[in-house]
């Protein structure tokens, strides 16, 4: 089945009333959590994992969860523009010019262009996904255990390099996540590992418990600490539809943002946050008047908002084709597929073409829904910002607790979730990025399986990882990255020690 026919069959499934309804639910929820500060897409998807399991149908549940992820990218701009607080991390940079525009009475133009840029880039990202994913899937079928091991290593390395400011801290978090994945029974021998005789640890940590703990509960602790007194721009929002001048200013920013977002989204650890930051830097650099940035430049809103949506669409590619989730929210969707008995990876397109194409088709539909939801209903989202966090926070705790409890009907899992939340909070205070923990936790099991299979095939010959061309190339890139970092660090260290010339 080629991409065109696959997409047609996907649309046939995506437009059934149930799937349309859950696409709408996902988009609305995504916009809502994007609007509300303090609850990100990863946490929300983790909250709804039990519900997605209860739905029973993997197509419907993944359509809803995907809608939450890309919907959050739309919603985040509303809070950034009107409140100067990012609704979610990928909209941080939108605050800079978006809020300035709102203060100047141009909130409508900022929100309108953010929504239209998001729609154009989100749809462009899905077009890319439609045509890049199938050939990549076909190529990835050739991957054996050695290639998977090397790919996982490279993916983890990229995630640690791109996710935070400190590579060493990123590596520490990735190693901690991998070690957490080792807890429980050994998949080959059945021996217990790091269980300390505790029954609760025999099956290892649950992905949901860890994810809800460090993201859901951890975010609540941070929000409680930061009592931000923000000023909501309450002037009537008009002029949402861009003028000809707005179009002229923003069209290339949207195109550049879409391209930057798409390519960054493909990388593990890349995701929407880096895409939006990079897009802002690009726009400022190419602008003839960079001094306007920070003072209410429309390109400073259009570019990053386009980039984060394109990245959100593109980040489905490595997950659907290689089985490698690139960021925490996608890792949650990865977990949802596993819960439903579907293994994401090169065989997904062959084994579950209905799911593969229906999810992609639903993303086209979801982007249209989001454009409609975000332009005329902006007033409704503004009202949501008035819900006090005092009511929201205990309700989120309750949903997290019920979500984790309902997986195994075990109170100990809920206690574990709160403990992970405390650990996540302390790590955040120490400025550790938590994305690599979750990614490494998911990839840990793939890493161990592929390592052991590769060593079994090669009868313990480690050269299998460098004699297979694809594996060697992947490890070569990883080695080059490590060497490059060491060289740059050494150069900076020596430069700092060199006495300044008089």
């Amino acid at each position: 089945m080629d991409a065109f026919h696959g997409l047609l069959s996907g649309f046939a499934l995506a437009v059934t009333p149930v799937n349309l309804l859950f696409c709408l639910i996902g988009s609305v929820l995504g916009t809502a959590i994007g609007v509300l500060p303090g609850l990100g897409p990863a946490a929300t998807i983790s909250l709804l994992l039990p519900l997605s399991y209860a739905l029973g149908n993997p197509v419907t549940s993944i359509i809803m969860l995907a809608g939450i992820y890309y919907g959050a990218m739309y919603g985040g701009s509303t809070t950034s523009v009107l409140l100067n607080i990012p609704g979610e991390a990928a909209s941080v940079v939108t605050c800079i010019d978006g809020y300035k525009m709102a203060k100047q009475g141009r909130a409508g133009a900022a929100l309108g262009m953010a929504a239209i840029g998001s729609f154009v880039a989100g749809t462009a990202g899905v077009v890319g996904l439609t045509f890049v994913a199938p050939p990549l899937s076909a190529f990835a079928v050739k991957f054996g255990p050695a290639e998977y091991f090397s790919l996982t290593i490279l993916g983890l390395l990229l995630a640690t390099y791109l996710s935070g400011k400190s590579v060493v801290k990123g590596i520490l978090m990735a190693l901690l996540g991998l070690l957490l994945a080792m807890v429980g029974r050994d998949p080959v021998t059945g021996n217990e590992r790091y269980t300390f005789g505790l029954f609760i640890l025999e099956d290892g940590f649950d992905f949901l418990t860890l994810g809800m703990g460090i993201f859901g509960i951890g975010e609540i602790f941070i929000s409680l600490e930061e009592q931000v007194k923000a000023e909501l721009v309450t002037t009537r929002i008009t002029g949402l539809w861009p003028t000809v001048r707005d179009w002229a200013i923003s069209r290339w920013a949207i195109v550049r943002g879409s391209l930057v977002g798409f390519f960054v989204g493909l990388l593990p650890g890349g995701g929407a946050v880096i895409a939006s930051l990079l897009s802002y830097a690009v726009e400022k650099r190419v602008s003839k008047h960079p001094e306007r940035f920070g003072e209410g430049a429309l390109e400073g809103v259009a570019g990053p908002e386009s980039a984060n949506n394109a990245a959100a669409s593109a980040s489905f590619i490595p997950m659907l084709t290689l089985g490698i989730p690139g960021n925490p929210a996608i890792a949650m969707i990865f977990a949802a597929l596993l819960i439903q008995g579907v293994t994401p990876g090169p065989f997904l397109l062959k084994d579950h073409p209905d799911l593969f194409w229906a999810v992609i088709a639903s993303m086209y539909i979801g982007n249209v829904m989001l454009l409609v939801l975000n332009l005329p209903l902006v007033g409704l989202w503004v009202q949501m910002l008035k819900v006090p966090y005092a009511i929201l926070a205990p309700s989120i705790v309750l949903i997290c607790a019920i979500g984790v409890y309902s997986m195994k009907n075990n109170i100990d899992d809920v206690v574990m979730m709160v403990l992970f939340g405390i650990v996540g909070y302390v790590l955040r205070k120490l400025q550790f990025d938590l994305g690599p923990i979750l990614l490494a936790f998911v990839l840990g099991r793939i890493l161990e399986r592929s390592l052991r299979q590769a060593l079994l095939i090669s009868r313990g010959d480690l050269s299998i990882f460098v004699t297979k061309p694809i594996s060697a190339a992947l490890l070569g890139i990883a080695a080059a990255m490590i060497l490059g970092t060491i060289c740059v660090s050494l150069y900076r260290y020596l430069a700092a020690r060199r006495p300044a010339k008089a």
């Binding site: 080792m182 607790a401 550790f432």
Partner: protein, 148 residues
């Protein structure tokens, strides 16, 4: 900040070293036939080594030293942790309904210091709403105890 980062690095170093020791106890095996402790050992050893590097990088004076928490900012998260842990422990004993009511009550009184009218209204409505949604509508088998 460096002082706290040194503590974090030291903690991770101890976790790494301890986990590596436990991994050897589990059975390292051989490259040809890896045992249950094979990969855990290498991961734990790498964690310990990276933590040691991080510790060395964080040595030395810290000209921009500042506390991890600004005065008073730790109070609300600490109270929230106590309320959450109490809620989870109570849920098994007194059941979901009563524990949820106490969660809202504790949260709004201890953390938010809300007005009594708000405390009462949100606690009652929040608990009833959660019960209707999760127990009646979604039929989640939550612990029974006092009341329901």
């Amino acid at each position: 900040m460096k002082r706290f980062e040194r503590v974090a690095a030291g903690t991770l170093l101890v976790i790494g070293a301890g986990s590596a020791y436990l991994a050897i106890e589990m059975g390292f095996g051989a490259v040809r036939v890896p045992g249950p402790g094979f990969l855990p050992f290498w991961l734990a050893a790498s964690l310990a080594a990276t933590a040691a590097v991080y510790l060395v990088l964080r040595l030395g004076p810290d000209p921009a030293a500042r506390p991890l928490w600004d005065p008073g900012t730790w109070r609300r998260p600490a109270l929230a942790a106590v309320v959450m842990l109490s809620f989870t422990l109570l849920m098994g004993g007194i059941g979901f309904f009563a524990a949820t009511f106490l969660l809202y009550l504790g949260w709004l009184i201890l953390i938010e210091r809300a007005r009594w009218l708000t405390v009462g209204a949100v606690s009652v409505l929040g608990t009833l709403g959660a019960y209707l949604l999760f127990v009646v509508l979604l039929k989640v088998p939550l612990p029974k105890g006092l009341l329901f």
